[in-house]
């Protein structure tokens, strides 16, 4: 069977042998063979069950295959793994159809009206520069691929709330919140759950298991082989569906020094359909306020760094913030009311009123139906 020229796009590879199963990735896919990156190995000739897929490129296809060769890790870009040859002619024919579809779709697609948008979440400036270089090198048409960056999970979340991305690439090792946690949040969000996610890391097996368990479609080891990754991006860009309108979700920024209060408030507001960003200190709050551009701000009153009413007052008077601001506190109601008025806040919520009341007030202020 003929191989297809558009080789080395990355696929998710799920290997099963008896009770063992491994989820990894593969490349060099043809209608008769594939190379799967894995530390797992068995003797040459061992029969394995294999499921290959990649969202928006290759629908899951199950094949039986034999290990044809075993490779130990070599130079960068030559990871350890197994070369597999497919057993069944019928599966090969099916794969050939799929690959030809991949091959031909580029020409069939209308020229892109907007770039294929990727959010790269990685705190390494070197990786960012390499993506910029790869974009220029691998994409012939200027503007066909647009890569946006986020340094950490919170910045990524803020960008995801405000923009639509066709693909998210997440490094596992991120400051404060790791990539697996961010991926789990993405998968838990109704609007973002179907976005293809590629996890990347130097962390090897542990990072792969953590990110795949969290919901990544594919994990790719660093150092990245840019030829494979950009081939995959190019195929994705050519195959992408026209962007569907994104239902508008109101964005709420919550500022509280208690991590527990932040987690609980975020969970309650997200389950009510809001997009939520959180901040536990002033610098994070200011960064989030600018990046997230919230429709509503909730501020705790008594915090070690600042009083919430002073924060609200500064936002109104100094920054000209016009969106509603609510003070949230366990202070006495009369005291809270006085502080809210003085700070020109839109109102206040006693923490003692509970989460249901907090959600109700947010809906009321943002005119969102329950």
């Amino acid at each position: 069977m003929a191989a297809v020229n558009r080789d080395r796009f990355i696929v998710r590879a799920e290997l099963r042998v008896g009770n063992d199963s491994v989820i990894s990735y593969g490349f060099d896919l043809t209608s008769s063979s594939v190379f799967v990156v894995t530390e797992w190995n068995a003797p040459v000739g061992t029969t394995v069950s294999l499921r290959l897929s990649f969202p928006r490129i290759l629908d899951p296809i199950d094949v039986t295959a034999r290990i044809a060769d075993i490779r130990v890790a070599g130079e960068p870009g030559e990871p350890a793994g197994v070369g597999l040859v497919f057993d069944e002619a019928s599966a090969g024919a099916c794969l050939l159809d799929e690959l030809e579809r991949v091959e031909s779709c580029g020409e069939a697609s209308p020229s892109a009206e907007r770039p294929y948008r990727v959010l790269l979440v990685d705190d390494s400036w070197l990786i960012r520069d390499m993506f910029a270089y790869g974009t220029a090198k691998f994409f012939e048409r200027p503007g066909a691929l647009a890569i946006d960056h986020a340094e950490d999970a919170e910045e990524a979340w803020a960008k995801l709330a405000k923009s639509t991305y066709d693909l998210v690439i997440v490094d596992y090792f991120l400051p404060s919140e790791d990539g697996a946690s961010l991926i789990a949040r993405l998968r838990g969000d109704a609007r973002l759950a179907r976005t293809p996610i590629v996890a990347i890391s130097v962390g090897g097996r542990d990072a792969r298991e953590a990110t795949i368990s969290a919901g990544a479609d594919v994990f790719v080891d660093k150092p990245l082989v840019f030829r494979d990754l950009f081939n995959t991006l190019r195929v994705l860009a050519e195959r992408r569906e026209r962007a569907r309108p994104v239902p508008e979700r109101k964005a709420i920024l919550v500022f509280d020094d208690s991590p527990f209060a932040l987690a609980l408030t975020r969970a309650a507001l997200e389950s009510a359909g809001f997009t939520v960003a959180i901040a536990a200190d002033l610098s994070s709050f200011e960064r989030q306020r600018v990046a997230f551009d919230p429709d509503l701000i909730l501020v705790d009153v008594q915090m070690p760094e600042a009083f919430g009413d002073d924060v609200a007052s500064t936002l109104r008077g100094w920054h000209g913030v016009e969106v509603p601001i609510l003070l949230v506190s366990s202070l006495e109601q009369s005291e809270l009311e006085r502080r809210a008025q003085r700070a020109q806040a839109s109102g206040y919520i006693c923490k003692g009123a509970g989460m249901s009341e907090l959600v109700r007030r947010c809906r009321e202020l943002l005119e969102v139906a329950p």
Binding site: F260, L264, S329, S330, K351, G352, M355, S356, L358
Partner: protein, 107 residues
Amino acid sequence: MEDLHAKFLPQFVVLARKRLALALTAAIARDHSATSKVVRELHTLAGEAGLLGLHEVVPLARECEHKAKALHASHSDADADLLVGGLRQLEGVIERIGATAPKAGNS
């Protein structure tokens, strides 16, 4: 909201026990340098309990917060004893809640 309550209650109990242990240790030892931290911890405890709708906890935590503030101003043994008494009462309520809550990490 019931799901959230079940999910976050065990975590609340763990945190509340830590805050109370800190407050009790400081009050019993008459460690007045720690009193302002105790006030903050009790204030936070009250807020977290309020968000979870634990109406039995909130007034007790607020009362302890006021007692800690009084102790911060007076440094007196009498105010320290009053605070210890309030904290013991709050501790009993937290333990009662903890006995019925699912174990932390199981949620």
